[in-house]
């Protein structure tokens, strides 16, 4: 199966998951309202989504040349991470029964994509401007900080470092996904775990704004926990990457929630406006 086929598969599954979950979480009332008012809502989404896409494009540019730069300026911290945590990942892996790893494999790919896309679409349809803005901004922070770390730190994941202890489960169980992940990510980009940071970000925002989508909170938290565990169970990330990812998530949510940051951004915007 080629890369294209894998992409199509992921997108098909993702669309199915989204349509089911949106109808339940956002609810028929809000969806009906969205249908009548769609152009307006799309217009509302243009700015935050556009901002996020811009940041992602910038990051992908950096990512393309990043690996080579990283080998020139970066520090190889693989050994340091191993000296911190030792064989923790191997232990976690050994505790998980074989039949569950398939679940974690699917969660790592589909669950993650779903978890990230859902809040954006739901907030847009429900006209939750603040929720949408905060989610997009938090994603942008995660990506930018993560990408900077990838430039500064070179680290191979546990499956590349201790092959006799940690099995590369994702690729053994679901080898087709390797095509996807090697397209998206170099094997030296493991610190911090962006899977962890983005999932935890979504979960934290869901908890913070529980009233907006009450049914979403438990789903988001459950998925986020599964994804965090999957990064280690599949042998892709170190526990250290996961901790760093969680810290990054907390920081990004704090930044978007903070009044002080908001007023700072406001001041910059007005300055920018005057300058124009």
């Amino acid at each position: 199966m080629g890369v294209v086929a894998v992409f199509v598969e992921v997108i098909a599954v993702l669309s199915l998951m989204l349509s089911v979950s949106l109808s339940v979480v956002v609810g028929p009332d809000r969806l009906r309202a969205a249908a009548t008012d769609l152009p307006e809502r799309l217009r509302m989404a243009v700015k935050p989504i556009g901002f996020l896409v811009g940041v992602l494009l910038l990051n992908s540019l950096v990512r393309n040349i990043g690996v080579e730069i990283s080998w020139i300026i970066g520090t190889n911290i693989t050994e340091f991470i191993y000296s911190l945590e030792g064989a923790v990942v191997a232990t976690i892996q050994s505790l998980v029964p074989g039949w569950l790893t398939l679940y974690f494999g699917y969660v790592y790919v589909y669950g993650y994509a779903f978890l990230l896309v859902f809040p954006l679409v739901a907030a847009m349809l429900a006209a939750e401007r603040r929720y949408l803005r905060h989610t997009a901004f938090a994603y942008a922070i995660n990506y930018t900080v993560g990408m900077s770390c990838y430039l500064l730190f070179i680290a191979y994941g546990p499956r590349n470092y201790m092959p006799t202890l940690v099995e590369p489960l994702l690729f053994d169980m679901l080898p087709r996904f390797q095509l996807l992940t090697s397209q998206v990510n170099a094997s030296t980009n493991v610190f911090p775990s962006l899977h962890t940071s983005l999932s935890v970000t979504v979960a934290l925002l869901a908890i913070r704004d529980h009233e907006t989508f009450p049914k979403w909170t438990p789903v988001a938290v459950f998925l986020a926990v599964s994804i965090v565990l999957s990064t280690m169970i599949l042998g892709i990330h170190w526990a250290t990457d996961v901790v760093a990812g969680a810290v990054l998530a907390a920081v990004s949510v704090w930044v978007v929630s903070s009044d002080r940051v908001a007023s700072l951004v406001g001041r910059f915007q007005s300055l920018y406006g005057r300058w124009r």
């Binding site: 080629g2 090697s182 094997s187």
Partner: protein
Amino acid sequence: MQSRPDGDVGVTRRSALAALSGGLAATSGCLSRIRALVGRNEPTTVSVSIKTLPVDQDPYAIAIARQLSAWFEAAGIRASIQPITAEVLYRQTLVNHEFDVFVGQFPGTFNDPDAFYSLLHSTYSVESGTQNPFGYTNLLMDNLLERQRRETGSQRAETVSRIQRRLIQVCPFLVLGFPNVIRAARTDRFSGWNGAFDPSPLNLLGLDRTASATRLRATTPDDRPMANLNPLMSSYRGPSDITDLLYDALAYRYRDTLYPWAATNWEWTGDDPLELEVTLRDSLTWHDGQQLTASDVSFTHRLLRDTSLASLSETVPTFRFRGRSSLVERATAVDDTTVRIQFTDCSRQTARQLLTVPVLPEHIWTDRTDRATVSGVDVGVTTTDALVDANIPPVGSGPLEFVSVSQGQTLVLERFDDHFLETSEETGVPSELADGPAFEELELEFVGSDSSAVNLVADGEADVTALGVGPTLASRIGRADGVSLNIDRSGAFYFAGFNTRRPPLTNPRFRNTVARLVDRGTLVESVFDGYADPAVSPLAGTAWLPPDLDWDPSNPVTEFLGTDGAVDSDRAHEAFRAAGYRYNEQGRLLQS
């Protein structure tokens, strides 16, 4: 190498002394005592870093490194492991000599004992490059290396045996074993996969087409061929290198016999100095349509000796082919198809090795003799464009020519229709290869890991895994439909190399004791899953190996300081003490 202070004891002692000296400065007797104590160097513990490839690029290297590190730890030597991507690893180790221990696969096969010359001769120890990467220097060894170049017959065999025995004593590097490379290959489109990549991908010409397939699709976890196709750059070239298909050599070694390739024949025309007259095939053509003539051959040998062609104040030789190019005194084009090569003092047997060096086009490389201005290579001396150029698109004369490359993804080559294999009837090359490639195009695709490479082959998306895959995948390959499990003994051995420029690795006694911490039998079982032949010499498996150096469970040649694959701490400590080393209270080996 990092040297850590021996715990905190030394530091506190020193600061305490500093305070003391302030208070008691009046007492001169005490001062001299302080001076004597402070003047002593603090003992530092030995710690080494092992550099190697990550699992994605080599299924065995990091597992070997981890096993070595465990054995070193048992002897009180702190060992850390640094996985590094191939191009950077080879640049750091082979070119810039930034390493303590380096675990990897030797980039090529030892066809002839003269390969030792460039690997161990002390004149190469100060240069950067694949030649003498370990920095080994020994006049006695130099003498043996020079002698074997001149000698023939049983005399040479004896000298080569002495070199090997000496190598095992002084250990600038440890041969660990020869891998049995595991590959997955589809049999429904092409057949004849055995040995198709070993020792050179030129053997792919021996494939037969079983269907109307025109495109041979190979996967590789090595992204270097998609970034650089310069046959002179050692940090980008591995065993079984793709540039062998792009560049013709005068002769090709196939199953241990040297066959004429770009040359039709050669004749010895003089003995003092040794002189060889090589006749090229008529109408050899470069991929850009220009004629390949004898002057390209003589140019190549001048370029290999000095890539600046004497335009710079110092000579800038190539890193690859260094040993072979050092055999040449002078190469002169007599006419369009005749080259006369004069050799330095060596035997015909040794001199013939020169013929396997690729021929480069003068009209392309003559513009690459300028001083390179931008380069990631820290050579400390001048380097030229020829040694840093990515050489894309490459212009060679080989059976395949360059079509396209996408950075980090795919390299596509196609059959060169003007190659002599296509245009001539009687070529004199081995009959298996004589028909040229059975495919129109060769596509080399980068794949992130061996497991997905096998999957692509099993799904019919690829024909073969160009590099070896891990032993755990053998059963999956065996189960797949229309896929054969190919196992080839590779001549590219795995080794652990020591940087003998850095203490304590400068000390042969230290290295020899470290060598006794390595149990090859255990490595082959636990790391290679049996898919390797343990060996102690690069010449194992050839007639050059003296019988006493033949590895055998009952004769491991170097005695292992332990049992059942575990190092016996007490015996290891004893051995290092006998070599003159000391341990601290924590059982850590001290440098001095």
